[in-house]
């Protein structure tokens, strides 16, 4: 364990966020068991009041969790590499956590994803005075709890594992992954060029679907947003793979340095922050646009608001995808114009 102030802030933030979420989860459990909308009984009125407190508590918890996650990412990418011997970027820091760091980040993202779904449905719920989604939202809140718990525990265990006297290999392992150059030019036996073509085709398809979802005159537009959600779910991992395996080369200006974390370093102008940030936005907004349309279908009272949310998700997705595509295409095109060849 390194008693770095940033890590202490992460641990304290996580603990505070988890406590607040646990408190809200207690009320959420009562809602799933006892919620009786329109009942005149005192228990229901009190439960409605507690729901308000739980809602505030969960929102505050989400804010604290996001803040501690940002601090953790900053720590992994730009602070801890200077402390962990041999580490030059986040790869080395995650090695120092003996695999727990990577798992913690996955749990964090899953918790964050469900929490954002909850938040989005909360906003929909509060748009109607009879709050028809309260019970559904309380289930989402409960669903996020195990991932939150795993994220906090795994992060803490990962931090405990960091040893400032134990050297790591860092990005050197990235090179060790391949026996020869041909192996570095393919992913799962399929050439990089195929992945890049798939990425661009899916990008165009996703943008077309997003435009379709915005233009459709159908009441819910479920088909359009359904396609959009599926394509965005397929698009994100392919975008991430091609970013690390192909597009990153134009930022590093080095062939086959398949490290995602170096993109967060100042020498690469922190380009990983917007790139991975945009990937997160697309991961969230694709499914959200579908779920909002689905909610509109199940709760007709929420139709106008849910439809607006669905369209907003589509719009955000278009903006994020266009920006992302521009950000990865521009350095490659610039390189090609400058040197007349692609980096491969």
């Amino acid at each position: 364990m390194i008693w770095h102030p940033l890590l202490i802030a992460v641990v304290v933030g996580d603990a505070l966020g988890l406590l607040l979420w646990l408190g809200a989860a207690g009320t959420a459990f009562q809602i799933t068991v006892k919620w009786a909308p329109q009942s005149a009984h005192r228990e229901q009125i009190q439960l409605e009041r507690r729901t308000e407190t739980a809602r505030l508590s969960a929102k505050f918890s989400l804010a604290v969790f996001v803040l501690s996650s940002i601090l953790l990412i900053i720590g992994i990418t730009n602070v801890l590499p200077a402390i962990v011997p041999g580490a030059m970027c986040g790869t080395g820091v995650l090695q120092a956590t003996t695999g727990l760091g990577g798992r913690a980040l996955i749990y964090r993202f899953l918790a964050f994803f469900i929490m954002m779904l909850w938040l989005s449905h909360e906003k929909l719920d509060l748009s109607r005075p009879d709050a028809p989604l309260t019970r559904y939202n309380s289930r989402l809140l409960l669903l996020a709890l195990p991932f939150f718990l795993l994220a906090v525990i795994t992060t803490f265990r990962g931090i405990l594992r960091i040893d400032s006297h134990q050297a790591v290999n860092c990005c050197a392992i990235v090179y060790d992954q391949f026996g020869n150059l041909a192996a570095a030019r393919q992913i799962a036996g399929i050439p990089n060029a195929f992945w890049v073509r798939t990425f661009w085709m899916l990008t165009i398809l996703m943008l077309l679907c997003a435009v379709w979802s915005l233009k459709t005159k159908r009441t819910n537009g479920e088909t359009a947003v359904g396609f959009l959600a599926v394509i965005s779910i397929v698009w994100v991992p392919i975008a991430a793979i091609t970013l690390v395996r192909v597009h990153a080369a134009y930022f590093y200006q080095v062939l086959h340095h398949h490290c995602p974390w170096c993109l967060f370093l100042p020498e690469h102008k922190f380009v990983g922050v917007p790139l991975f940030g945009l990937l997160i936005i697309i991961t969230l907004e694709g499914p959200l646009s579908y779920l909002a349309a689905k909610t509109a279908a199940n709760f007709p009272d929420l139709l106008p608001r849910a439809k607006r949310r669905s369209k907003l998700a589509g719009l955000r997705l278009i903006l994020a995808a266009v920006t992302y595509a521009g950000m990865v295409a521009f350095p490659a095109i610039y390189w090609k114009l400058l040197y007349g060849v692609w980096l491969e």
């Binding site: 329109q38 005149a40 409605e48 009041r49 308000e52 809602r55 005075p129 709050a131 309260t134």
Partner: protein
């Protein structure tokens, strides 16, 4: 503005599990500019009816609408926001003893985002109305019952509510104090406000100018007196 009770009933569970009707099929329409007086014996359900009208309780049957909106079916979150246009004077003052008079009066205005100096000015005006501005900086615990009641009225009117609901607002007042309060209530009967007072204090009935509607609550049922 209109406040309408449609077939409102409220049941409460007894310890043995059976249900007792506190209010039975209450119908009433209160329009802007009206002053309504609800009378009835102790335990008739006047306070309960006022709490229903103020959105503090929800009816077991029927509905309460404000400007056509079914507020009694709303979730607490929305009812709490709607209640910002309702001033409530409870039977007990429900003041915070640790706070000064001025701080207690300012409290309901805090969520509205006015500046502190503006809030102080409004609170002073409200206290002036009830001739208690000299108590502004005193802790509430040092006040008499009558003074506490005036502070609670000042707290209810500071936001200039569209609906003012008062439960026995003159119960702890001497004749002079009661006359002053009734007089103020008559003056607040503006074209856009609804004032509802529950009282069995005969001084309200003797004052002919306040009540446009006289309602009697008996055995859980409400009827209008001519």
């Amino acid at each position: 503005m209109s406040l309408v009770c449609q077939n409102v009933s409220l049941f409460r569970r007894r310890p043995d599990g059976s249900e007792r009707a506190i209010l039975k099929q209450v119908d009433a329409t209160l329009n802007a500019g009206e002053g309504a007086m609800i009378s009835g014996k102790t335990g008739a359900g006047k306070t309960t009816l006022l709490h229903l009208l103020a959105g503090l309780l929800r009816p077991s049957e029927g509905q309460i609408t404000a400007n056509g909106q079914p507020i009694s079916h709303w979730n607490t979150f929305h009812r709490d926001r709607w209640r910002r246009q309702v001033g409530i004077i409870f039977q007990q003052p429900h003041l915070i003893n640790e706070f000064t008079v001025l701080e207690n009066v300012i409290l309901p205005m805090i969520p509205r985002g006015n500046s502190i100096s503006q809030l102080r000015k409004l609170a002073r005006e409200a206290l002036d109305t009830f001739e208690i501005s000299h108590l502004a900086n005193q802790k509430v615990r040092s006040l008499s019952g009558g003074e506490k009641q005036r502070v609670s009225i000042a707290r209810a009117i500071i936001s200039r509510p569209a609906i003012l609901i008062a439960d026995e607002p003159t119960a702890h007042q001497d004749d002079q104090g009661a006359a002053m309060i009734i007089d103020k209530f008559v003056r607040w009967k503006l074209p856009h406000t609804i004032i509802i007072v529950a009282a069995h204090d005969p001084r309200w009935a003797e004052h002919g100018k306040f009540a446009d509607k006289r309602l009697l609550l008996e055995n859980g049922r409400l009827r209008e007196l001519q």
